[in-house]
Structures are given as C-alpha cells and as structure tokens.
C-alpha cells in the first residue's frame, strides 16, 4: 500500500498575477478570462500520484496584495512549500514575489518553492527577458514560465513542488 501524505502549499504573489487561475487550471483543468479577486484564503485539494507515494496537496490560495506589508504571514503557518507567482507582463510583480520569498524565509526558514512567471501566452506583452530568467536560475531558483490559459508549466511546477515538499 502506498503511503498517503498531506501537505499544505501556499500560493503567494502580487494581485492579479493568476494564482487562483493556476490553482483552477491545476485542480479543475479549466481557465476563465474573468478576473475575480480573492479575499482572504481559498482552499483547494489536489491529489498527486508520485508512484511511490500519493500526496494530497492542500492549496492555500492567498489573496494577492498590492502592498506586501499587508500580507498576513501567519497564513503560511504549517506550509510545507509554496508557489511564488509573478505576472511576466508586469515586471513589478516579480519584485513583489521575490520580496515575499525573503519575508517567508525570514519567518519560516528555507522551504521548497517554485517561481512561476505566469501569462506566458501573452507573448507580445511579455516583459521579462531570457537573460533575466537565466539570471534567476543561476541564483538557484526553480523558475519557469507558465500559463493558466494554456496549462504550460503548471503540472510540472506543482509536481516538482509535491516531490520536494513530501520527501
């Protein structure tokens, strides 16, 4: 019998970067154009089969903040990992994601995380160069462009995080 594990994973990032859409794509395989801001936390569950173990990811989709100082750090309590989300068409959201990571590490120490540069389908508005992406990777970050619309990079990111958060 394979072991059944459960892990709390938080979605972190600025507002309107696509955290809720990424969860929806991952959990329900759907995408909606409508933007509906998240208030507080939205909780979802996704079961991942890692062949040697099954992991229930309890996804805490946290409200994005335009002011990262108002971010409720206590919501991270008990998280086994997190998904940092930035909007690749809005470079300022990458700064928000990176400073959220610093705050999380200061409070809870190093935790597994992935950084998704979302909205990769909006090629014409894309504002993050390959060189910047490479720079982030060289700093040891697990970073990948993603698209909640097309599903690009979504499954891989959560699976990778599930492996690291449950080992």
């Amino acid at each position: 019998m394979t072991a059944m594990l459960q892990r709390k994973i938080c979605m972190l990032g600025g507002f309107s970067v696509g955290k809720t859409s990424l969860v929806k794509r991952y959990v329900q395989s759907v995408f909606s154009e409508a933007y509906l801001t998240t208030v507080g936390v939205k909780i979802d569950k996704k079961t991942v089969d890692l062949s040697d173990r099954i992991v229930n990811l309890i996804l805490w989709d946290l409200a994005g903040e335009d002011d990262i100082n108002s971010f409720r750090m206590t919501n991270m309590r008990g998280a086994a990992g997190y998904v940092l989300v930035a909007d690749g068409t809005r470079p300022s959201t990458l700064d928000v994601a990176l400073s959220l990571r610093q705050r999380v590490e200061a409070e809870y120490g190093p935790l597994p995380f992935v950084l998704l540069l979302n909205k990769s389908d909006l090629k014409e508005q894309w504002a993050i160069s390959d060189a910047e992406l490479e720079g982030l990777r060289q700093n040891g970050l697990w970073v990948q462009p993603s698209s909640a619309r097309t599903g690009e990079g979504v499954e891989d990111a959560f699976k990778d995080l599930a492996i690291r958060a449950s080992s």
Binding site: R7, I43, R77
Partner: protein, 434 residues
C-alpha cells in the same frame, strides 16, 4: 460576558450562534476528532466522524495542528462548499478547539470593493505601460526622423534649394512631368578654362572651381535664381520656376545677379592671384527670356529637374558670342531690363530652332535710378589688379584715389621709353566689370 445583563447575553449568544452559523470541532493531542457541533452542514462538515483523524476530514486544518500559537486566527477562509468562514483555533489543555464563523456576506462585500480598487490599479498600470511604449515609439520615431533629416540634408546639396524645398514640402510630385513657363535663362562659361588651368594640379583646379561655383551659386540664391546645373566649368541658372515674381522682375533679378557675379568674380580673381594663381577667370555670360519646358526630365529611375527648349539653347548661344567679361542678352530680355542696364545692339544672328532673327545686346553698364550709365572698371593681369566701382567709393576717399591713379599713370609713363607694351589694351578688351 461579565457585566452584560443575562437576557442580553443570551440574545447575543443566539445572534452569534445562528446568524454567524457557528460550528466547532474539538481535536485531541493525537489529532483525533473528539467532538463536533453547531452548523457543521454550513461548512460541508456534516458527515465528520468522531474518533478518526481530524485533518483527513477537515483538510483546511493541514499544517495547523498541533497549535504552535494559541489562539490562532485565519480570516475569511473559503471552503470547498463555497462558504467563507473566519477560522479560530485555541488550545484547551490537551485538546484544541476549532471554531468557524460564516463571513460569506462580508467576504463578498469586501471583494466588490477590493475588485474595484484592483481594477483601477491595473488600469493605471496599463496606462503607465502604454505611455512608456508610446515614449519608446516616439524616441524611435525621432531617431528615424533624425536619420531622414540627415539623409535629406545630404541630398539637398545635389538639388537647387528651391527644388529641394518644393519637393520636401510636398508641393511638387516626384514624377515625370513638365510645364511650359516663361523663364529667364542664364548661361555662363569660363573663357579658355582648360588652357587657363592646364599648369595647375587637378586638386588645385577642383578647389578653384568649387570656390567659383560656391560663390556664384550664393549670388544666384541671393537673387532668387534656381541653379539648374553645372556643366564642366559652365553654369546654368533660371528664373521663374519654381518661384516667380513675374517675367519682368525675374529678368531684372537675373541681370542684377549677372552684374553682381562679375563684381564677385573680380574680388575672387584678386584673392586667387595673391594666392599664386596667375591667370584670372574670365567669364562670358548669356541671358535670354522665353517659354521653355520646365520640370522633371529623364526616367523613373533617374530624373533631373531642368528646363529645355530652343530658348534655353539661345541663352547658351548668346553666351558663346559674348566677349570674355561681358554679358550678352537677347532682345526679349533687353526690353524687360532696359531701365536698369545700358546695352548696345550687335549684328543679328540666326539660331537653330528659333524662327526669327535674333538681335543680341551687349550690356555696357548699369543705370542709376536717374537712368545715368555707371561704368565700372576692372582689369586683372600679372602686375595689375584693378577694380573701380564709382558707386561704391566713399566721397572722402575720392581725392586719395585720384592721387593714386595719377601716380600710377606717372609710373607707367616713366617706363614708357624702355619696354612699353607693343599694344595698349583697347577699351573693348577691358573688363567693364559688368
């Protein structure tokens, strides 16, 4: 609820419990659910089983138990069932209590407000981004405009300024197209240019010729002439297109230009001689007025803006019969400028393409406002640079000039017996400077 009247305390409990759909769970140290109650169905928790692990049944508790801090509060948590709850946890001995308050309505109200604020911020971000792109595009546009300006400025040197202006302002189309217009055409040619310059290095000839053309073009522009072309050492200028002040004014402007060119050439000759160029430039000039075809000639690949026709050829012919240093004009021009120049008729000539006999006139001087002829003296050769324009002489200098001339004549007469020139320059060999 100390100090609150019993009946009110009871009412408050009722209000809180029912209106906020309070539900609770109790979890022991082994994380087993040991009690549950209240409005559990409101949160999709109606079927929880006591005695079994709590976190597997209420998965939002994952990571929160055992409690690290007590009390612990998560505002507005949206559960699977779609309801939003404030989640309160606190430690009670070995057990932990989990209390849920329904805040779905407050959550929705907050969301409406928040949504508007974020939509606004996104619009502002978009606007800032569009402005940034606009600024980038403007910068690119400016750069390409600068480039075009530099290119067109280079091109401008290959065109008469009036032609350049009318093309670049969009007044003229760059198409094969000509018009019939009455123009005054000017031709000039340097007498014996080849033999005059044969002892010079090509670089020196280029410098001389460029300076000559630059100066003459400057004079032409000053008088409103369109510099048509340079042909070797010849210069073709016309008046009346693309800008015209009327046939009479165009012809007068042309003659004023021609006389000023002669003055300027005299000054240039002095300068060149002092720089070591022995032979002065002696220039013949011809002017005619008549109807020509003017416009773009050539092919779609290479065009010239120029004037053609028998009247243009006549101007060239008049130039060829002019004595060096003289201006020969046609009768058609003469009638337009007779109030500003004095001229003498020459024997009539026939010109191919012109059905009539042509009477050329040689310009002998300019007229002052009262119609009096003013002679200008100009002679340049080895040992002599002489240019006298009586109009330009200051009254206070006249006596000094007379004395200089007298001394000069005396000096020449003193040499007369020894090696006087075999031939004294006849007046018609002198440059009248006109």
């Amino acid at each position: 609820m100390q100090g609150v009247p019993a009946s009110l305390a009871e009412r408050l409990q009722e209000l809180t419990y029912d209106e906020r759909a309070v539900a609770y769970l109790q979890v022991d140290a082994a994380l087993i659910l040991i009690d549950a109650g209240g409005h559990l169905d409101n949160y999709g928790l109606a079927s929880v089983r006591l005695g079994e692990p709590a976190v597997e049944q209420a998965f939002f508790l994952e990571g929160l138990l055992p409690l690290v801090e007590s009390p612990y509060f998560v505002p507005s948590i949206e559960l699977d069932c779609g309801r939003a709850a404030d989640l309160h946890l606190h430690q009670d001995g070995d057990t932990a209590w989990v209390v849920l308050f329904d805040v779905t309505e407050q959550r929705d109200a907050t969301r409406r407000l928040q949504q508007k604020a974020y939509d606004m911020t996104l619009l502002q971000e978009k606007e800032a981004e569009l402005n940034r792109r606009l600024a980038d595009m403007n910068r690119e546009l400016e750069a390409s405009n600068d480039f075009l300006a530099r290119i067109s400025s280079k091109i401008s040197h290959y065109l008469a300024p009036q032609i350049y202006k009318s093309i670049f302002s969009g007044q003229k189309d760059v198409t094969i197209h000509t018009e019939r217009k009455e123009l005054t055409i000017f031709f000039s040619d340097i007498k014996d240019f080849t033999s005059t310059t044969e002892h010079l290095q090509p670089e020196e000839i280029t410098l001389l010729l460029n300076e000559y053309f630059t100066e003459m073009s400057g004079v032409a522009l000053k008088h409103g002439g369109t510099v048509d072309k340079f042909i070797g050492d010849a210069l073709v200028i016309f008046f009346g297109d693309p800008e015209t002040k009327g046939t009479v004014e165009d012809a007068r402007a042309c003659l004023n230009m021609a006389t000023e060119m002669q003055r300027r050439l005299a000054e240039l000759n002095v300068k060149w001689r002092s720089a070591g160029t022995e032979q002065p430039f002696r220039v013949r000039m011809g002017v005619n007025t008549g109807f020509c075809n003017v416009g773009n000639f050539g092919s779609v690949h290479r065009m010239d803006y120029t004037a053609i026709g028998a009247e243009v050829n006549l101007a060239a012919r008049l130039q060829s019969i002019a004595e060096p240093g003289h201006i020969v004009i046609s009768y058609d021009t003469y009638v337009l400028v007779r109030d500003i120049v004095a001229a003498r008729a020459l024997p009539e000539i026939s010109v191919k393409g012109i059905g009539r006999m042509v009477v050329p006139y040689v310009v002998e001087g300019v007229l002052d406002e009262a119609g009096r002829k003013i002679e200008i003296f100009s002679e340049h050769m080895t040992g002599l640079d002489f240019y006298l324009d009586p109009r330009a002489i200051d009254a206070t200098a006249i006596e000094r000039i007379r004395a200089t001339l007298r001394n000069a004549i005396a000096a020449l007469e003193g040499r007369g017996g020894e090696d006087a020139p075999a031939e004294v320059a006849r007046p018609d060999q002198m440059d009248p400077g006109l």
